[in-house]
Symmetry: D2
Subunit: 352 residues, 4 copies
């Protein structure tokens, strides 16, 4: 019997990232959602957990069994906590599955950077060399044939897309980069705790993890690689929480190197993103609104030059669950499966 | 040259209903959005008005020209104010277009009921006899061949789906029906006015149009027809506004006729909606949450019997822009075009 | 030494009702917050739990010790779960304290109604005869000298204020009353659970406890008493949850008795509430907006006559934490302490 | 007849700042709200515009008549657009009134900085020398006897309180300061426009005025003065809009000068704010949440040292309508009137 292609399983199927993956895959004509695995909720219907999906995705949640996954899937998307992914992903790779992982476990080139950020010993550092960082705008070609894709963090995704053209152009003072970023509340995951309750979050704004957020080192690694620096850069990063479900905005500040011609800066963006289907560079002096990207895979980017300070400000908006997680994973999956890269992802953001 | 089929134009293309239609049609494989008409914004790109659609739907908004519409479209969806639709729709019908209209202009069987509700003289009362009320759960067969479909109001849609099985079964005291309904703020349309500003609506709840809302008479007409009553029923209807963009919930109260066997009531719903792709009857003593239907065409219905009062309470949740407007129009369009009824509408609601 | 008067202790000091009590008492010139008791958080500062109060109310939370409470307080306000209040309140009364209790434990005249609603055996049914239902608009005189005041539920407060003038006037069909009510999310208390998380409540609307909510019997008791009925009335009551922190709106439907002169109905309200400092009867055909009462002790009421159905619709908005809980308790406390009834409560609602 | 003291009039009485002033003054025991002036709404009751104030502040709005204002008021608070204040304030000063102005018209030392920021010719540059910048934490003594107080902008208030101790200490690289700030939507004023509608703002986040916001020059002036610099500093400032009514958070980044001892930095804050009744320096490694300051006059400040980058991050949260506007004006008014500085302002923020 011919093996059916492009069957996708989601491992860790009850969180918000998994929910968004199911939403996207349910409307995808080239990928088939074939298996949902949830250790804690096995036996329930996915639509018992998320009744919105009743009649749309009524799969039974299964226990975690790598053999069953290998039997029923060609691709596995793991939406598991860090430290758990690194235990389970190897078993899936061993069974021939191609895997996209959502945790931080396979995003690092340097195992010590991982172990410092996550306070964990990595059980399979050998896989770090093989894993491809799943940002198609940089690593498209490697993603195509990858066995293991580490889906980027949400903050790194928008931070990288904001700055990549200028880092490549070599016009920034590499010690000067400051990223002030804001996330919707779903970024915290499915949390039951008064800190995430409606009453104690709605109508409020605050920072969190002001110094030392894990995504800092992930951004620094990729910034260093893009800039051609021998080591990761050192940046300042501050995440904030806004009272909204979805959406993420990074406002990035950087000093221009002396003598840089500011009139050509926007050209670097136009060139870099001319053929990118999901990056929209805003050229008409507007700036991104997260409402233009929510529920989509778009990243909207704008560049602002402040000649008084010789600094640039670059803004990038994404949906933290979209381009920042599930939709980006599907973009990589499309590439891995040889499908059109925009399959299942062509929808606009939702202002209303 | 063979005429290309299933080209759809939207007339009145800058409001929220039109935006939602564009969103749905952009992802629809059997219908092609071929023309957007906006009198006030002609010459702009649709994506200038709604930047979320940049790269997804960049059509130029056109002036209103019935001949051009007839040339470029097979179907026209009019999203125009009442009183305007009744002027423009006839010109479209005359040119051979099949039309779905979103206003109240063609929803009434009795022109006097229309004229009383809308305080307008109807210019083409002859078309009322031809127009089909676009609720597929009742009028599917007539919709199939209709030239003119009057898309139902949002409140009528959820009010009718809530009660239809019991009205048909003849178990309700027809004088006792009370509908208490709640809408998201998009129901008011695209309004620039402090009354609809974030600051004066967020975190607040209120009723409006407490007595005499126009949708009352539309509901009464359809209730009367379903019940087989010689005239419209007389009901109480109170709309409220909740601080949310989308979503609508109707809580309907009705007295049971003496002697009605309550144990069989839920069976009427199961039978009526067994084959309906977009009505989900909740059987496990849960009740609808608008978050399970937003951004979708689903209507979630639950029935609650209060034996102490011999009353039923029926709840129905829809998305006022979805099943209450644009998605329902596409459902009818699918039927008219001979496509699978769920084409382009198979997505789940969005909890997050 | 002369005993210092009007010292107030709050027992159960970490929930939202307690927080609101602290907020009001911190600005009250005639009552002194002298003690905060919290079993679970004893030893912490109140402002550790609620940092908003740092510099305003930095009291240490104490363990529950009736003797200490009696030593440090003249009045105790208990904000405890039902079943707990009925155990603790007697010990406070025994020590000479005057008590306002927020639970359902002392709101019932008939212990069997309590036991049916709360599924608990009442340990001190004898106190039900003594307890005064703390709605000043009805029981002001009894509150003045009461030892034990049972602060009304939020839904009963707005349901009673909505209908009292018409019930007294004897113009309603007593079997026809339907209450459709909506609460802000703080009504559920300080809940850590995904059901109350921002992501799963914001932008959504739903009913809960559709049949059999406990407040039903409390409303029925008071309605019966107001109407001069020998027994509680039988009504329909449906609570809903709107995506907002505070605020409550009841929409009440009732059939008028045959022959009732509708022109005089509003006069019943004007008379009943003419001298009430916290009930605002809206006479200019407007209807209440919860935003006009949030953070205040006001109840806004409007009457709407639907001559087509011979029904009235009455709307009443309160703040569930204000007139629906803490502010109403302070109103009673003012009365008990012989202070001006509006002391500490004269502020407007907060639109913004 | 002895002139009655501390009568306050509000000129420009229908915007949100005026509403907040009325709210505070209605509960103030030492200041009497004696007059409300509104050109556009003269003749209406204030409570017609804001029904929340019915029964609390039912004053009739008056036309603008400087003689009447002088007759009925000792103090005038002007809440007028820039360009209008500078025309009207002189007439009030001439009649012996002491004035607090909310516009930008009297905040600048250097008229050319004003004229560049506001694109207006200043009609009375002579008054700039006399006007006192109304930030009590710096200018308390001058405010005491001032005839004219220029109430600071909201962004400048939180930006200055964030950084003042370090600027005074001389530990910062003055060219390196970056302010990333977020405001609630009320900061835009009472706007009727789809841009400020619920549907197009809720659940979204964006920047605005990315380069060149007017408050930049106001911050630069005060930063320069605090630092003892001969000229204003040059900083980067980016304002953002979060989906909430009230609240403002500034996240300020600055490089430490080489050799600065980071262990003493927090001491500068503790010393500077030890006796300030409205600035709370958070010492326990927490950071500010706007919900702890909304509806209050508090500013919550935290300091975070990032030794990797040798930068500090300082966060400051205020209520843009509170410490950022109306409450701060009342704080100055208390000082001017010789009242306790905290009169009418002692309330906590509102988490819920």
């Amino acid at each position: 019997m011919v093996k059916q292609m492009n069957r996708v399983g989601i491992i860790g199927a009850t969180g918000y990232v998994a929910m968004e993956l199911v939403r996207i895959l349910a409307g995808h004509s080239g990928l088939k959602l074939s298996l949902l695995v949830s250790h804690s909720q096995a036996g329930s219907l996915f639509s018992d957990i998320y009744p919105a999906f009743s009649g749309v995705a009524d799969l039974v949640l299964e226990t975690l069994d790598p053999d069953q996954i290998a039997e029923q899937c060609d691709f596995a998307i793991t939406a598991l906590p860090h430290g758990v992914s690194s235990e389970i992903v190897p078993a899936l790779l061993d069974r021939g599955l191609r895997v996209i992982d959502h945790s931080g476990d396979f995003r690092y080139r340097d195992v010590s950077a991982y172990e410092q950020a996550y306070k964990l010993k990595h059980p399979r550092p050998d896989l770090l060399a093989e894993a491809v960082y799943g940002l198609p705008e940089i690593y498209r070609n490697s993603i195509r044939s990858a066995r293991l894709v580490a889906n980027p963090g949400c903050y790194p995704t928008c931070s990288i897309l904001a700055v990549m053209p200028l880092l490549k152009a070599g016009v920034l003072n590499l010690d000067s980069i400051i990223i002030d970023a804001v996330s919707g509340i779903s970024g915290a995951g499915r949390k039951g705790d008064t800190s995430w309750s409606y009453c104690e979050t709605a109508e409020g704004f605050k920072a969190y993890g002001v110094v030392g957020h894990r995504h800092t080192s992930e951004i620094e690694q990729e910034y260093g690689l893009i800039a051609g620096n021998p080591t990761p850069l050192t940046i300042s990063f501050t995440p904030h929480l806004a009272p909204m479900k979805r959406g993420m905005l990074a406002t990035v500040y950087a000093d221009l190197l002396p003598g840089v011609e500011t009139s050509s800066l926007s050209q670097y963006y136009e060139t870099a993103y001319a053929d990118e289907p999901f990056v929209r560079f805003l050229t008409d002096s507007t700036s991104p609104n997260t409402l233009n990207v929510t529920y989509s895979n778009f990243a909207d980017v704008s560049l602002h030059i402040d000649s008084r300070t010789n600094r640039v400000k670059i803004l990038c908006a994404i949906d933290n669950l979209g381009k920042g997680a599930a939709a980006q994973a599907v973009q990589s999956l499309n590439i891995m499966a040889g499908l059109p890269e925009t399959s299942g992802l062509k929808n606009a953001g939702c202002l209303i």
